[in-house]
Every structure is written in structure tokens, then in C-alpha cells.
Subunit: 237 residues, 2 copies
């Protein structure tokens, strides 16, 4: 079921939409009560082409018009390296998330993405920025924790024009991954259009941490993941 989204009486919000599962469900949440604008940032990660395809498919599903879409590129993550997502010489960490920081961590990435969103929000007078950060069930990235968002919102308060009231919200932050899948299905989010794999641009690898988390989440939620996998990382029996 498709939903018309652009009604003038709703308040404007910006949603950071990578094209992944979490950002898609976040958009489904935001879309209930907001007139959404979408931000998609291309930072030369390995799966950028596939994520951008997912972005466009999801944006089309929600009928978001061109003038409410900002697609922008950053080249410095590729230049500085330090993450297996942007440096193809580093192999992607596989399997379940560990307690240590995986090499898929892109240093201070969410601050970059959110800063672009805040700049845009100041110009288009959006008061809410949605980001699909997940603290539970995620690989220990420091910029996915509630504490980080509390401080970021303080920064927005002191770092923007006095006339603006912008707040970053994280509707999924306390949820387990299977709960996110369930919520997405309840909200008719187009989960088969999303892309989670860190490694491949054609068939999802099924073995990287992101595929593994996604496969577990659908399994635990009791739903079939309709995207195609090269192979599936099975739970140890």
C-alpha cells in the first residue's frame, strides 16, 4: 500500500536515508506525521551505487518530489581511509558484531551527515531531523549512542541561528533489530527495496556483520527477508 506524503499542513522534517533497513523504517515513522525531505550522502563507501539505487527506490515509493531531495557527495573519507567501508584494501569484518570496534567504523561519520542535515534544515526551515541510529544490536559505533545525540542536540542549540529550533530525533535507538523489522512491516515500509550489505553491489554477501544482523533480525521477527543473498551466514548450531 502506498501513501501520499506531501501534505502542506504537516510539519517539515528531514530524514537521513542511506537506503538501509534502519533508515527506511525511520522514514516510515517520520512520514506518519511529517512532510518529509530526504538527505542521501555518498561518501565513496564500497556499496555506494547499490545504496543510492535503494535510496531512489524508497524515495519513489514514498512519492517524495525532487525538490525535497538532497543528494551530496563527500570525498574525504576515501582520502583519509581508516575504515573498511571506504578503503577496499581492508577486508570487511565478518560475522556477529564483537565487543571491540569493527573496522567498518567510519570515524565521526554521523557528525558529518547530521551537520549537512542541520545546514539544510536551517535553510528550508525544517524543525526535526530523523536519523535511524540503533544503539542496541549494533556494532558499538560511538556515534550511535543516546549520549551522543543528547550532546549533538546541545550543539545544534548553540551553533545555529537563534531563530531556528532544530532537533535531531532517533526513534529506533533503543530497539532491537528484530523489533525494527516488525515495526517496518507494520508501517508498510518497503523493506525489500532496502540494502544492508557492506560488501557487495549485486547480491548481498550474507556474511558481513550487517548482513548477519539483518538475517538474524528477520529470523527473530518471524518474517522472510525478500532480498537475494549469495549465501546466508547460519547461526552456529
Amino acid at each position: 500500500m502506498r501513501t501520499k506524503t506531501q501534505t502542506p499542513e504537516k510539519k517539515r522534517a528531514i530524514v537521513l536515508l542511506s537506503g538501509g533497513l534502519d533508515s527506511c523504517v525511520t522514514l516510515a515513522v517520520a512520514n506518519k506525521e511529517h512532510n518529509v525531505a530526504l538527505l542521501h550522502v555518498q561518501y565513496s563507501q564500497r556499496t555506494q551505487p547499490r545504496e543510492s539505487m535503494a535510496f531512489h527506490n524508497i524515495a519513489n515509493y514514498y512519492h517524495v518530489p525532487e525538490d525535497k531531495i538532497l543528494i551530496t557527495g563527500l570525498d574525504h573519507f576515501k582520502k583519509i581511509g581508516g575504515s573498511s567501508l571506504t578503503d577496499t584494501k581492508l577486508p570487511i569484518d565478518k560475522g556477529e558484531a564483537e565487543t571491540t570496534m569493527p573496522n567498518t567504523y567510519v570515524p565521526f561519520r554521523n557528525t558529518l551527515l547530521l551537520a549537512i542535515a542541520v545546514s539544510w534544515a536551517e535553510v528550508i526551515k525544517a524543525e526535526t531531523i530523523f536519523i535511524g541510529a540503533v544503539e542496541q544490536d549494533s556494532p558499538n559505533y560511538p556515534d550511535c549512542r543516546q549520549e551522543y545525540y543528547d550532546v549533538f542536540n546541545q550543539l545544534v542549540d548553540v551553533g545555529t541561528m537563534p531563530s531556528t529550533q532544530i532537533k535531531v530525533v532517533t526513534p529506533l535507538i533503543g530497539m532491537k533489530k528484530f523489533e525494527i523489522v516488525k515495526m517496518g512491516i507494520e508501517l508498510n515500509a518497503p523493506l525489500p527495496l532496502t540494502w544492508s550489505c557492506y560488501e557487495n553491489n549485486d547480491l548481498a554477501c550474507g556474511r558481513c556483520q550487517s548482513c548477519t544482523l539483518r538475517l538474524r533480525a528477520f529470523e527473530d521477527a518471524g518474517y522472510v527477508d525478500k532480498i537475494h543473498y549469495l549465501e546466508k551466514n547460519r547461526r552456529p548450531s
Copy 2:
């Protein structure tokens, strides 16, 4: 007098160097006790070509090697507009800085620049980031105030890997502009290589807020500004 800068025993620092007066003096300060790496961000501002030339001239003066230089581009400020620095349809505000926000304000810009610096600092293990923000004698930009930097440093604490200790420092923040000129001259900073004009890429206009501030600062410091101006905005008599 030129100074050799890259000595291994000094701690590494990143300096944000736009090519302007303040960032050049900040580099002169940082260079006294640090092994400096330089970040230059091109965000499609009107005077980007001239600022980048200033950047390279200053980097050469300090003998900073290529592998300690990161030049990166951002295209979203141009796309979103809202500032006369990036939108050539808006005329640049002229004359003395007012108490209201001038249209040269680029929304949340310093958060972007600093976020790139922090990402790089995590990779190259720099512990200090220098930025030439000036609170006094500047046009009321919210991201040039001490309060903003206090919160930004909290964000760095919570948003980076636990193993990193990165701090943003603002050595000029409490100084008047003429004091910055004096300090630059005392430290042999190459002030004639810097560029401040918001409007032109050839001869400085002498009338925009940035030229006006610079001209007043040299006058009050008792020094001659050796760059060439199209005309000079005289103090009202």
C-alpha cells in the same frame, strides 16, 4: 624568516587553514609546538579559487609536506543556498558588522569543517585541532563562540573511539582583530599571503564586511596591509 616545521618529537596537530588572516595566525601559533597537518575545505564559496591559492602559498611558506595536507570539497552548501558566500544571486553584506546575522553566514558550517578534521585526526592520531574562530570583532556567527566549542569538545569525547583523545582549540577566540594582526606579525606569519575578501578573486574589494574588518585591524595595530585593494572602505569621519 622561514621556519622548519616537521620535527618528529613534536605532537601532531591539525590546523584548519582557509587561507584567511585568522587561520594563518592560528597556524603560526600551532606551529610553535606542534607537527602540523593542514585541512582545507572547498565549499564552492565565491572566492574559493583565491582562498585555495592563499592556502597553498601559506602551506609552502611553512614547508608542510604533501602527505600532511588534506584538501576536500563539499557541494551541498552551493546546492542548499541560504548564504551570500555560496549563492551568487544574493549580494554580499557590506560595511561594518551589524548586530543582526549577516547574509554571509553559512549555516552550521564550522561543524562540517570540524567534523572532517576530527575524522582525519582519528586516522592520523592527531590530538589537537586548531581553528581560528574569533568571537570578538566578528559578525555574530553562532559557531564562532566559546560556548559552541565547549559543546563541540563534549561531542568529540562521546562521538569518537574510546582510545582517542582529540581536542579542538581556539587560540584567537577572545582576541580583537587588531591583536590578531599584531600577534601574526610577532610570529612572522605570512600575512601578505592571506586572503580575506568575501567578494573578489583578484583585487580585494575593500568594502565587504571581511575587508572592512581587516582594514580596521591593520590600521588599529599600526601596520600596513600589504595586499592590494580595489578601493578602501574608509572610517566615517
